[in-house]
């Protein structure tokens, strides 16, 4: 029986197809799947590329760090999942030059110092003299690496010529940080002493990966072949060695391994990916993903509207068919089956066709955008194809199957009494279920619950509010006593249908405006978060008595004088008088936070770039109060009103948390998790730190700074900034490219909306023609109707896009947003012009049609 029904269904589909009944629905579905797969595939490639680039900062996708030799079980688990692994060992050690050099050499080797009038020869000599005992030794971070290191990213070295390293240092040689070369006055080919070993400096490290995080362990790096480690004699009981297992490979395998490892992790071990390790990158990546999610959602919204309209038109047109089938003896189940098979068949072909279009378009987009082509994006995965296919079918069934469910209940009596429509009863539950499916789909496509809920809420709110306002507006307009107000009265008479059309057009328009104007504004605002002069150097370990000379140095070098932040290191030992330890926290991140020392600072005012999210800022610096970053507060379960006890160099203090702050990690400014009132900390011995911008032509000044203040650590964050900028730019280009395709979906919505209006207009026009209306009257009538519909839709679109844009900026992307008046003008004007033009094109032939033919065929 099913086979016969399927055959009948197929025959009917074929015949309906020939008559063009499925065209709009198919077009809407192909565009829906096409746009979702284009956006999905494109976004997937960009996401993968961003992730890969970001992971170069870690040297791997995942890093396990342990104070003991990495368990062979971990290595085996990684290898079993076909993941690439490499191990490294990191520890601090003193390094010295193998040969002493003369003072004259110091000066002659550093032409910048010898030429610089700001630093006198006496200063250089005195520094040399003062440090003569230890001038040839320095604390370094030794990193012994195995073959294959790094798994992600590239190390750039200078061994006479600057190039990307293709292997690790040969045995007996090391690659060293530029700071070490400077401090020990080394040259390539010189030798250094490391433990029992004497190693040749084979190259200077120009760009490194897997940098240590945090300021404490930031010492110049020496990269060593792991096979030399044992003979160095440095690996002994009690050595402060951190063993690392670097892992890279397929994202899902990596994530699987991460879960596997998380269950087995010992107290002395931790897992990190680039997001854990670099909050600036995490913020940028998350924002990028939200942007991509927003673009994907916009495509889904537009596709949904187009499909809903097309399905509605299809169902209305097939009421008679259903009634006839029922009259001829088809059961309700058979009617449902006949249409369901048709929809599934159509869905199947539309999905395949849409995916092919999606794949081709995204490949084309990548080829046409130079930056994308050059970026050599990784191949897309299969996930976006599945996601688009399933979403397409879910949308089709969500919007078409439910009306179909009603269609099966069409009374066969309709063949006699045509006024009988679709029974309304018992559909609440079905619509509820359909709504749940669509909500799930939205959240899935958004990739973020928050973004999904906001857009979903915006959409649902838009549906209700736009619908109500449209209906009210049409009624109000019809009351205007204008001569020839037939058009407005007409619109008001079909208030529900027209309100629905306005809602559809508004939602489509809202999505388009969101993706054009709001997207541009949001991206610009994101860019300004990281201006060209964003700090790219951190200076740590500034002593109190160095503050003034340091600021003088900045002035002398014509570098903008930065603000110095005091820092005291303290350990959190109790929350609300309850002593805490790492064991209290199952979360590895929380555990590591409790086990290490915090960088505490104090400030009278809320530090710039920080945002108060809860509580109050202190009024008096003499108070005892603490301000905590909201993320860390959540991790450690700290709330306003809690009392935290810190141990600073053996003495303890307690204070109440009075506010929570939000930090903008990607601002590259100095940020502190915990800030105290001055009264609490200013009596402790503090060091200071700052961040500043050093332009390319000021690099030598940076070298001089370190030479003049040898105890300072200068951290170069250029690579991170470059990475964040890269992410912003890639996303800007991606979203722009995606927009082109989404525009097509928007036009499909418009087309579907206008076609939905067409049937009724044709019938009405035929009646008016019969009653003697001329073409001029009809044209005026239609144009007035379209202008009003378009302008109202445009107004709602602009209002919706502004509101949604603001909510997304504030709640999801966490960037400022100021809507422009252009958005409103474009919305209203564009809506009126586009709807009028498209409406006129769709109905112009109606005016020339024989009214008898129209009335006979209807």
């Amino acid at each position: 029986m099913t086979g016969n029904i399927f055959r009948l269904s197929f025959n009917m589909l074929r015949r309906d197809w020939r008559a063009g009944e499925w065209r709009v629905l198919l077009l809407a579905l192909v565009l829906a799947v096409g746009s979702m797969s284009t956006v999905g595939l494109f976004a997937d490639r960009v996401r993968q590329a961003l992730q890969q680039e970001a992971t170069s900062l870690l040297g791997a996708d995942l890093r396990v760090t342990s104070t003991r030799v990495i368990s062979p079980e971990y290595r085996a688990a990684a290898l079993q999942r076909n993941l690439a692994i490499v191990t490294s060992a990191v520890f601090p050690s003193m390094v010295s030059r193998a040969q002493a050099i003369s003072r004259a050499q110091v000066i002659s080797r550093d032409p910048a110092i010898s030429r610089d009038p700001a630093i006198s020869r006496d200063q250089v000599i005195s520094r040399d003299q003062a440090t003569s005992a230890d001038a040839q030794t320095m604390l370094t971070e030794i990193m012994a690496v195995g073959q294959g290191y790094p798994l992600r990213g590239k190390i750039e070295i200078d061994d006479g010529a600057q190039h990307v390293a293709t292997s690790i240092p040969q045995r007996g040689t090391v690659w060293v940080d530029a700071r070490l070369i400077q401090r020990l006055n080394l040259e390539i080919g010189d030798e250094i002493n490391l433990g029992a070993l004497r190693l040749r400096v084979a190259a200077r490290i120009v760009r490194d990966v897997d940098q240590a995080i945090g300021f404490v362990s930031f010492a110049p790096r020496v990269l060593l072949n792991a096979e030399d480690l044992a003979s160095s004699g440095l690996v002994q009981e009690g050595s402060r060695i951190s063993y690392r297992l670097l892992i890279a490979g397929e994202p899902n395998k990596v994530s699987e391994l991460r879960s596997w490892l998380a269950e087995r992790l010992q107290l002395s071990e931790k897992i990190e990916d680039v997001r854990d390790a670099r909050p600036e990158i995490r913020t940028a990546l998350e924002r990028a993903e939200n942007f991509l999610g927003l673009a994907a959602l916009t495509a889904v919204v537009l596709a949904s509207v187009a499909l809903a309209l097309a399905a509605r038109q299809f169902i209305t047109r097939h009421l008679d068919t259903c009634a006839m089938l029922r009259c001829l003896g088809a059961s309700q189940a058979q009617v449902l089956q006949i249409f369901l098979y048709q929809f599934l068949l159509l869905g199947f072909f539309a999905v395949i066709f849409g995916c092919i279009i999606g794949y081709t378009v995204q490949a084309g987009l990548v080829q046409t955008i130079a930056a994308m082509r050059d970026a050599n994006l990784p191949s897309p995965g299969w996930m976006p194809i599945w996601q688009a296919s399933i979403s397409g079918l879910a949308l089709l069934l969500g919007f078409a199957f439910l009306p179909l469910w009603q269609l099966k209940s069409v009374s066969p009596l309709r063949v006699i009494r045509r006024e009988l429509g679709i029974p309304e009863a018992r559909t609440g539950l079905l619509y509820g279920l359909g709504g749940v499916v669509l909500c799930g789909l939205f959240l899935w496509q958004a990739g973020s619950l928050k973004l999904g809920f906001i857009v979903l809420g915006g959409l649902a709110g838009g549906l209700l509010i736009f619908g109500l306002l449209a209906w009210l507006a049409l009624r109000a307009l019809s009351k205007i006593p204008l001569t020839g107000n037939r058009a407005l009265t007409n619109l008001a008479q079909h208030g529900r249908t027209n309100a629905l059309q306005i809602v559809a057009l508004s939602l489509g328009g809202m999505a388009l405006l969101l993706l054009t104007f709001v997207r541009g504004d949001l991206l610009d605002n994101w860019r300004t978060r990281l201006p060209p002069d964003a700090p790219n150097r951190f200076l740590v370990n500034i002593q109190a008595d160095q503050r003034e000379p340091l600021l003088n140095f900045f002035t002398a070098q014509k570098i903008n004088t930065p603000k110095l932040f005091p820092m005291v290191r303290g350990r959190l030992i109790a929350i609300n008088q309850r002593t805490i330890s790492g064991n209290d926290y199952p979360d590895p991140r929380a555990r590591s936070l409790v086990e290490r020392e915090f960088n505490l600072s104090w400030s009278e005012n809320l530090p710039s770039g920080n945002e108060l999210v809860q509580g109050r800022w202190w009024k008096q610096p003499t108070e005892s109060a603490l301000s905590v970053e909201e993320g860390i507060a959540k991790t450690l379960d700290i709330h306003i009103g809690d009392t935290l006890t810190y141990d600073v160099a053996g003495s303890q203090f307690s204070a109440e948390v009075v506010n929570l702050r939000k930090l903008h990690w990607d601002s590259m400014q100095v940020n502190f998790f915990v800030v105290a009132t001055p009264a609490l900390l200013e009596n402790f011995t503090a060091s200071y730190l700052t961040s500043f911008h050093l332009s390319a032509d000021q690099v030598r000044a940076g070298d001089k700074l370190i030479t003049n203040f040898p105890n300072l650590l200068m951290i170069n964050t250029e690579a991170v900034i470059e990475q964040v900028r890269n992410i912003v730019e890639q996303i800007a280009q991606t979203v722009s490219a995606i927009f082109m395709f989404t525009l097509l979906s928007g036009l499909a919505v418009l087309y579907a909306a206008l076609l939905a209006m067409q049937d009724e207009r044709i019938h009405q026009t035929a009646i008016l023609r019969t009653l003697g209306a001329d073409s001029h009257y009809l044209r005026k009538l239609h144009l007035t109707e379209f202008v009003v519909l378009g302008a109202l839709s445009g107004l709602f679109s602009a209002a919706g896009a502004t509101l949604l844009g603001w909510v997304i900026a504030d709640q999801v992307l966490d960037i400022p947003y100021r809507p422009g008046v252009m958005l409103l003008l474009t919305g209203v004007g564009g809506g009126a012009v586009i709807v009028t033009l498209a409406g006129w094109l769709a109905t112009r032939r109606v005016a020339n049609m024989s009214p008898l033919r129209v009335l006979q065929s209807s």
Partner: protein
């Protein structure tokens, strides 16, 4: 066919509105019955109840020995598929289907429902539909769509569709209502001729006295009641 105490009542503006009131009559196999009445007398509603297109508020209809009130919507549809044919005032052809395809539709539905094969097993559905169209004089218009046919031609297609399944009973609702007098006369002639040839029972709703007189029996409806 037998109607027993058949009544139909609907809600209108919160008030009950009686459309049909205790209708009783029976029709023998092969007989033709005309239901006459002015507009709003309840003729079409009665036809809908007799054909099982709608459920009565009271009373019952027996069709070929089946009590329609014991059947659900699908049961009645199944019975219609097996026993009944329809001709309507507004033709009710599917606009996307050609004349031939419209006539094929009940046979295809019959096959899809796995009902016993109608008549000759060896002839294909298409062949049988084609023969039905030839009988109504539309051999040359088989591939035409309804919108390209005149009202008379469309009604002929509807008649071919009604008879192709060789129904035991034919329900006709104002079959000439949308046609001019001349075409109407031709259509009614064709319908009665096929009726006789197939020995089909005919239930005809009309307000045309002359047309009604061509049926073996007539009943008159006024304000939802049978009047003598």
């Amino acid at each position: 066919m037998q109607a027993e105490n058949l009544g139909k009542q609907v809600e209108s503006g919160g008030q009950p509105l009686v459309i049909l009131h205790e209708i009783n009559f029976s029709v023998k196999a092969g007989e033709s019955l005309a239901i006459l009445g002015a507009s709003g007398s309840g003729k079409s509603t009665l036809l809908g109840l007799l054909a099982g297109l709608d459920a009565p508020s009271s009373g019952t209809v027996y069709l070929d020995g089946h009590d329609l009130s014991t059947l659900d919507e699908d049961g009645r549809a199944h019975l219609r598929g097996r026993l009944a044919g329809f001709v309507f005032q507004s033709f009710q052809l599917l606009p996307a289907l050609s004349a031939l395809e419209n006539v094929m539709l009940p046979l295809e539905l019959h096959t899809a429902s796995n009902l016993p094969a109608i008549n000759n097993h060896s002839i294909s559905i298409q062949e049988r539909a084609s023969q039905a169209l030839q009988k109504v004089g539309l051999a040359s218009r088989m591939t035409h769509l309804p919108k390209h046919m005149s009202g008379g031609e469309q009604q002929r297609v509807a008649i071919a569709r009604a008879f192709v399944g060789q129904p035991k009973i034919l329900f006709a609702d104002e079959p000439t209502g949308n046609l001019d007098a001349n075409t109407g006369a031709q259509i009614i002639e064709l319908m009665l001729e096929l009726n006789r040839a197939h020995g089909t029972t005919l239930i005809l709703v009309t307000h045309d006295e002359a047309l009604a007189r061509r049926c073996s029996r007539q009943i008159h409806l006024a304000a939802g009641r049978v009047v003598i």
